[in-house]
């Protein structure tokens, strides 16, 4: 890096090339470090969109999917969401494999398990597919189970659109910048991300310390719970006091000096966000109002 980068938004933009946070970090610690930061990039990349649009936008659709009971609607919405994930998020191989293998598996398992739970009386007149001990699986129940599983898969995919394309930290920044959430609350949440690795380490130490002391809560699930509660007190006490110390450092650095603070990275709300938001509602609406009736008609 020869010349000093001209400050300003462009100055920040040059960094991530060198930083390369890596997509879809696995642990919460990584996620906080990974910082897309700039929101600059091609329009196909959902990571460049407003985090609120991708996380909060699909929520009305989520609520709607909750209420569906047929097979076709959730299946089509799930397909649309999957298409968005595949084309606009392009998750890394591991996540992709988990999606493409895991979701069908999830659907099958759910179909069977919910089928078993379904009240047999509601599916009178269908055929008994299998029975294991007291459990009976009827074909009608299987259909109910399939509907539930498709609904769950659709919900999961809708949520993953935002989940895979942004981080909790960026959602917080967007909440501060666009939803007028007080920045002190937002930054408290961001600072809390730094506590997580610390908690992990502390828990490990407390565990071994308690073991060395010969503390024994006995065996069984209740004792396990007592043991966890025993760890929780020193862990929380240490965590809260750490938080208090951090609060001193934050105030000493001017945290709260003004009603607003400088934001080096502005999260843009652009035409692509509007388009995406409109599509978020238009596509499910088309599915429900046009595609499903048409398919039903042709099938009937």
């Amino acid at each position: 890096m020869s010349a000093v980068v001209r400050p300003g938004p462009a100055g920040v933009e040059t960094r991530p090339a060198a930083v390369d946070p890596g997509p879809a970090a696995g642990s919460p610690g990584d996620r906080s470090g990974a910082r897309p930061g700039t929101f600059a990039g091609p329009a196909w990349d959902l990571r460049t969109y407003d985090p609120l649009v991708t996380t909060l936008g699909p929520l009305p659709v989520v609520v709607f999917v909750f209420t569906t009971r047929d097979l076709l609607t959730p299946a089509l919405i799930a397909a649309a969401a999957l298409a968005v994930v595949l084309v606009m998020v392009r998750p890394p191989g591991r996540v992709l494999a988990a999606l493409l293998l895991g979701l069908p598996l999830l659907a099958v398992v759910m179909t069977v398990s919910f089928g078993v739970l379904t009240d047999p009386h509601t599916v009178d007149g269908t055929t008994l597919v299998a029975s294991v001990g007291p459990f009976e699986l009827w074909s009608g129940a299987l259909v109910t189970g399939l509907a539930t599983s498709l609904r769950t898969v659709a919900l999961l995919l809708l949520v993953l659109v935002g989940g895979l394309s942004t981080t909790g930290a960026d959602v917080v920044r967007a909440m501060v910048q666009q939803l007028r959430v007080p920045y002190r609350i937002g930054y408290a949440a961001l600072a809390a991300l730094r506590f997580v690795p610390r908690f992990g380490h502390e828990l490990e130490v407390i565990r071994s310390a308690h073991r060395v002391r010969g503390v024994d809560h006995g065996r069984g699930p209740l004792a396990g719970l007592r043991r966890q509660a025993g760890y929780a007190v020193p862990l929380l006490a240490g965590g809260i006091r750490h938080g208090e110390r951090v609060s001193l450092a934050m105030e000493a650095r001017g945290f709260g000096a003004h009603p607003a603070r400088t934001e080096r990275v502005r999260i843009p709300f652009r035409a692509r966000d509007v388009v995406f938001l409109v599509a978020t509602y238009a596509v499910p609406a088309t599915i429900v109002l046009v595609v499903v009736p048409a398919l039903a008609r042709s099938a009937g």
């Binding site: 470090g33 910082r35 961001l190 105030e251 000493a252 001017g254 000096a257 080096r264």
Partner: protein
């Protein structure tokens, strides 16, 4: 900047008649730190006298001032009052006034005052708010609502000054302790405030980290664009940095305010009486003078090892020093029973597969009853791992460990913890981690009860330990409500109440000031003299030199030296391999030209002694 003309005439920081009384039972966050132990001690005794008490002093532009005083005198509290954290955030009653650039801290709150006073705290971990170094340094100027260009310019300047600009995209957790503290200084510089207040900035650092921080601070002071107010107990490091010293006594009253040399060298006797720690060179010179060694102190006492060396070389004949190779205890007596802790060819790997790292390489070590062995080395050398394996804290997964560890004939990595507790005690770095009950006496009794000791004996032994560790009046307290020093004593008490053959302590002086650390080491000295084998993991070189009977130095997971303190600490190759600093006294004596016999003197106890014995009973 309209008020600047008025500010230019007044000092940068004006403290006038300040007395601070902490709210009773107000468990303020700043004083949880063990280093601030004294203040907490006072409060737990129910003392109502304010500390500090009626203190008046100034700090001028560009000045570097050291605030000094014995434990509990309220120097940290006073530091927190400079930017209004006391009393706005940390509950306390403040009498008198504090003005910064003409602005009263009573009328302005801390965030607002941060443009005038920047502060660096003791714990580097508790000052990290964001995910990258650059974000971290920008955090302050952003809060002050500086324009983006200005924020970035300030951040770059600050990061360059502490030598971290190249790492600006990294996560702060990837920095060493010293690196994170340098980052905290950069954050303070980026605020652009003319006064920098540092509250025990090196208390949580290893020697290498301390060096780093002082190198940065020296640069800041020499540039002269910032005034510095420093609270620090490591005088050997601080003395070269500051122009002026302000001294408080134990009651928090101001007793001295003058140039570094006038105060530390000119009034050394008074300071020693007050219980204020002195530079090692000054202490040594006092000791030599009192012992009748003819050093010429007419030009003032020495402050640095180099000055002490010059004084010693000016003397024609020095008396025999104490024999450094024979520690104050009789090791041979202890050795008679054979070692209780035996580590043989220990190799330990952490993780598995490609990510596995070998933490310990072929480590062998034997500790006999009555020894006080210090395990030293830089962070990551494997000292804590070794200590934890020896005490059964770390349960090695199968296949990760070669060689053997034996404590009183038992394998600590396999033995039932309750049985093991009778043979080896372990004291964690943070005492709170190992405190599990809600009363001090229950805490002590726990180890005995789980091992089925009869009730009356439990009671007797608890009473004994309470009395010995000065905790009797606190027996029904919640352990978390004790002060840092009391908590530390309690955690040692819980370990020794089972009368283990071996006591292992992980960084027992971490985050403590000199007095608390010395107090603890004296306690350990008493224990090992009674026949307990004591193993201390530490990077505090002077304390190690003073108290240990043997030093084991680790570097990169290997034992690089094992011998008497004077032998190990005089070995440059070993010390540099371990990333350790030479103790101050050794730095003075090793360069002696006229007195080669004195070159191996590393400890104050080895100096000729006057009639008055130093080591407390």
């Amino acid at each position: 900047m309209s008020g600047d003309r008025a500010a230019a005439r007044s000092p940068l920081l004006a403290v006038r008649g300040v007395s601070i009384r902490h709210h009773e039972h107000d468990d303020d966050p700043a004083h949880d730190d063990p280093a601030h132990d004294g203040a907490a001690d006072d409060r737990s005794r129910g003392a109502t006298a304010p500390t500090p008490c009626d203190v008046t002093f100034d700090v001028g532009p560009g000045e570097a001032v050291l605030l000094l005083g014995p434990s509990g005198c309220g120097k940290s509290t006073l530091a927190l009052a400079t930017n209004g954290l006391v009393p706005h955030v940390v509950g306390a009653d403040l009498d008198g006034t504090v003005h910064v650039r003409g602005r009263s801290t009573a009328d302005h709150d801390t965030p607002d005052l941060s443009r005038d006073v920047a502060m660096v705290f003791q714990d580097p971990d508790a000052q990290v708010v964001t995910g990258t170094l650059l974000d971290e340094v920008c955090f302050g100027p952003e809060n002050l609502f500086a324009p983006v260009d200005d924020v970035l310019a300030r951040a770059e300047d600050a990061l360059r000054r502490v030598g971290l600009w190249d790492r600006r995209a990294d996560d702060p957790v990837t920095l060493s302790g010293g690196g994170r503290q340098r980052l905290a200084i950069a954050c303070a510089l980026a605020l652009g405030s003319p006064l920098l207040v540092l509250d025990e900035p090196t208390a949580n650092l290893d020697p290498a980290g301390t060096e780093e921080v002082y190198a940065v601070l020296r640069e800041v002071v020499s540039t002269g664009d910032r005034a510095v107010l420093l609270v620090e107990h490591d005088l050997d490091a601080a003395v070269s940095l500051v122009d002026r010293v302000v001294v408080l006594d134990a009651a928090g009253r101001l007793v001295l305010d003058g140039t570094t040399r006038d105060v530390l060298a000119g009034r050394a006797d008074l300071l020693a009486d007050l219980g204020v720690w002195l530079p090692t060179a000054t202490l040594a010179a006092l000791r030599l003078r009192d012992a009748g060694v003819g050093i010429d102190t007419s030009g003032g006492l020495p402050l640095t090892p180099a000055e002490l060396a010059a004084l010693l070389d000016a003397v024609a004949v020095l008396p025999d020093h104490g024999q450094p190779d024979v520690p104050p205890t009789t090791r041979d007596a202890g050795r008679a029973g054979g070692p209780t802790l035996v580590v043989e060819h220990l190799t330990f790997r952490r993780g598995r597969g490609r990510g596995a790292t070998t933490v310990l390489h072929d480590v062998s070590l034997a500790v006999a009853p009555g020894e006080l062995v210090a395990v030293v080395g830089s962070n990551g050398a494997g000292k804590t791992t070794l200590a934890q394996l020896a005490a059964g804290v770390l349960r090695a997964p199968r296949g990760s460990l070669d060689g053997s560890v034996r404590v009183a004939g038992l394998d600590p990595t396999r033995t039932d913890p309750r049985e093991l507790a009778g043979h080896v005690g372990f004291v964690f770095q943070n005492p709170e981690h190992q405190l599990v009950t809600s009363r001090v006496d229950d805490e002590l009794a726990l180890g005995l009860r789980v091992r089925g000791v009869p009730d009356d004996e439990v009671e007797a032994r608890v009473e004994d330990v309470l009395r010995r560790f000065g905790l009797t009046h606190l027996r029904d307290r919640h352990p978390f409500l004790l002060s840092g020093g009391q908590k530390r004593r309690l955690s040692v008490g819980t370990a020794i109440i089972c009368r283990p053959d071996v006591l292992v302590l992980d960084e027992p002086t971490y985050g403590q000031d000199r007095e608390r650390a010395a107090e603890l080491l004296d306690l350990l000295t008493a224990l090992h003299r009674e026949g307990t084998a004591v193993v201390v993991v530490s990077h505090d070189m002077q304390l190690v030199a003073e108290h240990a009977t043997r030093v084991v130095a680790l570097a990169g997971g290997r034992v690089v030296a094992d011998g008497t303190p004077s032998a190990v600490l005089a070995d440059d190759a070993v010390l540099s391999a371990c990333g350790l600093r030479v103790p101050a006294l050794a730095r003075a004596t090793r360069g002696l030209v006229r007195h080669p016999a004195w070159r191996g003197v590393t400890r104050l106890v080895d100096l000729p002694v006057a009639a008055v014995a130093r080591v407390p009973a």
